[in-house]
Symmetry: C3
């Protein structure tokens, strides 16, 4: 993990084989970031895990085989139970050019990944919501 | 609709059932925003409407059934005839993981939606262009 | 090419027929930008070229026929051998609504394209990496 902060923009580069979530969290923690908006990402993933939300707190897991290009990354950084939490949705290009997309639950970097986050200074947290089964993004 | 502004970044959360365009416009108007760049969005939509531009001001409508994950949102905020206008393109993940994408013309929030906009202070407007049939993004 | 800079955000509009990479580079050079993060883009492309990385510096080319909606654009601006270099991944909506995505290698604007970049002031460069065959994004 390498990083560069320029004002409120944090650019992170993860190397081949790094865990995507752990590498990005490591960069955020090193910069003392507790809230932010993901600006985007490019690079590749190997066998990423994505999910589709079925309600009641349950995601249907959609396995992705092999390597894919990271073509869009959206989401944010908030605090859940005192720890930095990443909510990420990813769009990926396959070797045929067809795109896959979903709630990102995991993945390792293939070759390289370049991620940008806009750092926020006001707190964002997530609190359980019994109606949706999700942890709702909450402002103060 | 709940919102949090941190400098020039506006984070908006829409609740289950809210109209996506109306909820986001409501947040922009409450903050007095007339120009901006969409940074991204995550969450879900139910039966969103997307279109593909055929020229002459006409979009081919591409109905989307059921619920989908919002995986990328791009576009901007400008003024058209004195009112805030959203130009949005959306990428969505279906329950199979396959992605759909197009010019967004409508949709209701399913479960939750988290949207971020970078607020601009210089004006952007849209003016009709007879050549493309579109309202062209215009700077002053 | 028309552009508007508001603080560190650069909004670029390219007209029908303009080369996407050349038009965007022209805007960046006119503003003296050497580093940045792409915030997103909307509009359309005609017969864009995308690729899937196979390693060893080689991309498999995935031709895209006809016109497509630009639904997400991610990547960054850095310097390679003294010149501004764009690393872009694009997600596109086809006339059926199905999405295509990949490493963007070229394309002309169809109708219009609206692109936003967050300008950075600290340098980012790319240096050859024999392990991946890529030019690695590098901070100072």
């Amino acid at each position: 993990m390498e990083r560069m902060r320029d004002g409120d923009v944090l650019v992170v580069r993860l190397a081949d084989g790094e865990d995507f979530f752990e590498g990005l969290k490591q960069a955020l923690k090193a910069e003392g970031v507790h809230a932010g908006v993901v600006l985007g990402a490019v690079g590749m993933l190997k066998e990423p895990a994505i999910g589709f939300y079925r309600g009641g707190g349950k995601y249907e897991t959609l396995p992705v085989k092999g390597e894919v290009e990271i073509c869009a990354l959206a989401g944010n950084v908030a605090v859940v139970e005192g720890d930095v939490f990443l909510h990420l949705h990813v769009t990926m290009g396959t070797s045929s050019g067809a795109a896959l997309a979903g709630h990102m639950t995991g993945g390792r970097v293939h070759m390289t990944a370049e991620i940008a986050v806009h750092i926020l200074h006001k707190p964002m947290t997530r609190v359980p919501d019994s109606k949706t089964g999700l942890k709702t993004l909450t402002f103060e």
